[in-house]
Point group: none
């Protein structure tokens, strides 16, 4: 595990305030564990401990069983340096509103060494103002206006996903293509295109008088594919088989 992942596991807690349905507690625990979080705090859960919560947790029952129960949000976040409250409502309180990605960036960079709480309100009406006052930032998941309320566990999933993405970001390159074989060199590509051209002429598909346009189309296709050495070997093998079969 990277340092960021260890910090995520140890320093970031998910706090559910007054969860009404134990199934949501279980599903939130599963969402957390999938993304490498483990610390679940429950403030006055309506129905807990609960078999339904364990069932819905799938194999994240360890997270459910280790959940810490508190009587108030204040108690649940008292040792945290950073407290963020999720809300679909726009700016009820005065905090800066972050989207999940901005929040994750803040948590995993600025506050890496600090205990952090991400707070979710109850299913029916979210966080009340008194709870939001304990939060330094508000997180709003950018749902559509006419239908903005996510399922509680789904909201936890989105936030935990962004936290994990933020942790992994250094390792993730944009559109990574995992390859074990080196990409073909310019000389290898040139060899392939010459071979392709000769074969296309031999099977009368390419007019040797004006080969340019078709070869350009072929280049466009294969250049987009970013051929590696094995790809070139396969394609040249095919060309040889075509020649042999004439």
């Amino acid at each position: 595990m990277s340092n960021a992942e260890v910090n995520l596991l140890n320093n970031v807690r998910i706090v559910l305030v007054n969860p009404q349905h134990p199934g949501n507690i279980g599903m939130a625990a599963r969402a957390m564990k999938n993304m490498g979080l483990s610390q679940l705090y429950l403030v006055n859960p309506k129905d807990f401990p609960s078999k339904e919560a364990l069932y819905r947790a799938s194999r994240a029952d360890d997270v459910v069983e280790a959940a810490i129960i508190k009587n108030s949000l204040k108690e649940a976040v008292s040792d945290c340096s950073l407290v963020l409250g999720t809300s679909t409502r726009e700016r009820i309180m005065s905090q800066t509103i972050l989207n999940p990605r901005e929040a994750a960036l803040k948590i995993t960079t600025v506050f890496q060494q600090e205990k952090t709480a991400i707070v979710f309100g109850c299913e029916t009406f979210g966080l009340v103002n008194e709870d939001l006052e304990l939060c330094q930032f508000q997180i709003t998941i950018p749902s559509i206006k006419r239908y903005s309320s996510l399922n509680l566990a789904s909201a936890v999933q989105v936030i935990c996903y962004e936290l994990r993405m933020s942790c992994l970001e250094k390792e993730i390159q944009s559109e990574k293509i995992s390859r074990t074989t080196p990409l073909a060199s310019a000389a290898e590509l040139d060899g392939f295109y010459n071979h392709l051209k000769q074969t296309m002429i031999h099977i009368d598909f390419l007019n040797p008088e004006c080969p340019r346009k078709m070869m350009e189309r072929f280049r466009q296709i294969f250049n987009r594919a970013l051929l590696d050495q094995e790809d070139v070997n396969l394609l040249r093998g095919m060309l040889s088989a075509i020649e042999k079969n004439r």
Copy 2:
């Protein structure tokens, strides 16, 4: 609504293959609607129509009721130019693996005008190889290795969230790959791959007893190239010329 949001609503479908629990169908519909998607396709759902699905959908029952049922994944994606399959397993097939953000970027920029399908396998074992073969790209949600399997609706939530984030970002920046020709549909690609296979068998390049591995390599190359209709015409023209010349 911005253009990107309209495209998301009209052009991007979520396909659930063999969903076992109707509750997950309902929750997936809710996740979709929260993020501005509406097109739900179900391939051989185990228990549908279902009251449980409607109940779990909350107020996204319109999405559930408009769901289109198909007998095979092939039918569900035949008119799509871009088909992406979600899988937690690493590189079973040959596709490029994208994380949800990369996939969303691809869908909302390159494929703005094209029909796109995002495919999710059943709860217990995900997508089978036969289904993954119909996908040009694989999406993997970066969960932790020891506990990688997300709840089905949670996985849908993460992907739909990234699509919406991508749409909202598009209003700020636009990165377009200009194409004048429409991309090849799944059916057109399928026709090309079948033609390629037959031709490779005819010229003794492919052993018809075990065609799988080599065809996978070919798919890997051409899927990366994102073929448009003219590309497919050119390549099939080449295959016909090969056949004629034998």
